[in-house]
C-alpha cells in the first residue's frame, strides 16, 4: 500500500458510492488521474461536501492498494476560479476530455499545469476557443496522439499557408486540391502549430479538433458538446 501526501489536485467528477460515500475521480499533478473513495462525503455534515467540487484547487492525501484509493484529506488551497456560463461549459468539456483521454495513474504534470492555466484564463473571461484548442493539442501530445501540424504526412513537405489539406486523424495533413468538406487550410494548421490563432481560423480548427478527438475516442461522443448546442 502506498500513501500520497498533500498532492495538488482537481476533482474531475464524483459519483455516489454506497449510501453515504463518493467515488471521486481526481486529476493530481504527480499521479495523474486517480479514483478515490471519500467516505461519508455525501452526508450533509461532511467537511468534504463543499470541498470536493470540480475546478477547486485542492491538495489531497490518499492511500492506494488497488485501482481504487481511499481519500484521507482534502483541502482547498486557493479560491476557485469563478466559471460562469460558457466558461463553465468549457471547464466541463475539459474535465470530460481528461476523463476520457487520461489513463489512471499516468502522471501528466505538464497537462496539469496547462489545465490550471486554462481554468484561470476562462475565469478571466478570455476567449475560450483559442485556449481550448491549445489545451486539446497538448493533451493529445501528452497521451500519445501528437498531431502533425507543420509538415505533410508522408512527403514531409512543409505546410504552405495558401494550400488546403485533408487531415487524416491518425496520420496528419495530406495535400488536397482545394477547400471542401473536411479540409483545413495550411494557414490554420500553422496557426495552431504556433499557438497563435486569429479569429478567422477558429471555426475550421474547431471542426478539425472535433474530428481528431472523435476519432481517438471512438464511437461514444463527448456528452459536454451537447451543452454548447443549446
Amino acid at each position: 500500500m502506498s500513501r500520497m501526501q498533500l498532492e495538488p489536485a482537481y476533482v474531475l467528477h464524483s459519483r455516489s458510492f454506497r449510501e453515504t460515500s463518493l467515488i471521486v475521480e481526481a486529476f493530481t499533478r504527480e499521479h495523474g488521474r486517480v479514483a478515490v473513495v471519500a467516505r461519508g462525503a455525501k452526508s450533509p455534515r461532511s467537511r468534504w461536501k463543499n470541498v470536493l467540487q470540480p475546478f477547486r484547487p485542492l491538495v489531497i492525501s490518499w492511500s492506494q492498494k488497488s485501482d481504487l484509493g481511499t481519500l484521507a484529506a482534502a483541502d482547498q488551497v486557493a479560491s476557485p476560479p469563478v466559471l460562469q456560463g460558457q466558461a463553465l461549459y468549457c471547464g466541463l468539456y475539459m474535465n470530460e476530455l481528461l476523463m476520457r483521454l487520461l489513463h489512471r495513474g499516468d502522471p501528466h504534470a505538464e497537462v496539469f499545469e496547462r489545465y490550471r492555466q486554462a481554468l484561470s484564463e476562462l475565469a478571466a473571461e478570455a476567449p475560450p476557443q483559442p485556449l481550448l484548442r491549445v489545451f486539446e493539442k497538448h493533451l493529445l501530445d501528452a497521451t500519445g496522439y501528437a498531431m502533425l501540424l507543420d509538415r505533410e504526412y508522408g512527403s514531409g513537405a512543409e505546410i504552405q499557408p495558401r494550400s488546403w489539406y485533408e487531415y487524416q486523424p491518425d496520420r496528419g495533413p495530406v495535400l488536397s486540391v482545394g477547400p471542401g468538406e473536411g479540409r483545413v487550410s495550411g494557414a490554420a494548421l500553422l496557426a495552431l502549430h504556433a499557438e497563435n490563432m486569429q479569429a478567422e481560423y477558429l471555426p475550421e480548427l474547431r471542426r478539425l479538433m472535433r474530428a481528431v478527438i472523435g476519432y481517438h475516442l471512438g464511437s461514444k461522443p463527448l456528452a459536454s458538446l451537447a451543452l454548447f448546442s443549446g
Binding site: 463543499n50 467540487q53 479560491s79 476557485p80 469563478v82 456560463g85 466541463l92 459536454s224 443549446g230
Partner: protein
C-alpha cells in the same frame, strides 16, 4: 440471520429504505410482527396502493396520484411564475419554507455530461414546449449551487431568453445565523459577487 425464510425476506426488503442497515431492519421487522401487526398491514396496503398509483404530473413532473398535480390545476396559483427545481424534494422545501405561489417544473436531475445526462436526457424539450405554449412572465431558477446546478441554470437561462421570458436565479450566500469566519470560501466569494444595494 434467522432460519425463517419469510422473516429474512422481510428484513432484507426493509433495507431498501435509506439509512436502514441490517440491525435496524431486524428491529423494524420484529417490532411490526410482535407489537404492531395492524400498523404493518396498514403500511403494506398503503405501500401497494402508493407504488401503483403515484406517478408524475404531466405538466410539472412532480409526484402526484392525479394526471395533473394539485399545484398545477389550482386556480389560486400564480400562472405567471414558473420555478424550475432539480427534484420533488426541492418543491417540498420551497412550499414549506416560502410564500411562493407560482407553479413549478421539476427537472428530475441536472445537466451532468460526465454522467451522460445532457439536455435530451433531462427532457428539456418538454420544458421548451411549455415555454412555447404556456409561457410564464418570469422563470425562477432554483437549481442547486453546485457545478452541475450552475451549468443547468445557464442552459435554462438561454432557453428562457429565446422565448423573451424574464429570468431570475435564487440568491446564494452566507447562511442566516451563520458567521463570515465559518462560511466556506466559495460561498463567501459568491455572496460578495452578488451583493446588492441597500436602500
Amino acid at each position: 440471520m434467522s432460519s425463517e425464510p419469510l422473516l429474512n425476506q422481510l428484513i432484507e426488503s426493509l433495507r431498501c429504505l435509506p439509512g436502514v442497515g441490517p440491525k435496524s431492519a431486524q428491529r423494524m421487522a420484529l417490532h411490526l410482527l410482535e407489537r404492531n401487526r395492524e400498523g404493518g398491514l396498514q403500511l403494506a396496503s398503503v405501500l401497494v396502493e402508493a407504488m401503483g398509483k403515484i406517478g408524475r404530473c404531466k405538466q410539472c413532473r412532480d409526484l402526484t396520484e392525479m394526471e395533473t398535480c394539485a399545484v398545477c390545476v389550482s386556480p389560486r396559483r400564480d400562472q405567471t411564475l414558473l420555478c424550475v427545481v432539480e427534484s420533488p424534494v426541492d418543491v417540498l422545501a420551497i412550499e414549506q419554507a416560502t410564500a411562493y405561489n407560482g407553479r413549478y417544473f421539476v427537472l428530475l436531475g441536472r445537466l451532468s455530461p460526465l454522467d451522460g445526462i445532457g439536455p435530451a436526457e433531462l427532457g428539456l424539450d418538454q420544458l421548451a414546449e411549455r415555454l412555447e405554449q404556456d409561457a410564464p412572465e418570469e422563470m425562477i431558477i432554483a437549481t442547486n449551487p453546485t457545478v452541475e446546478g450552475e451549468a443547468t441554470s445557464f442552459y435554462l437561462q438561454r432557453m428562457a431568453q429565446k422565448h423573451n421570458i424574464r429570468v431570475t436565479r435564487i440568491a446564494h450566500g452566507v447562511p442566516l445565523g451563520g458567521e463570515l469566519e465559518y462560511t466556506d470560501q466559495s460561498t463567501l466569494a459568491h455572496a460578495f459577487g452578488s451583493r446588492r444595494l441597500v436602500d
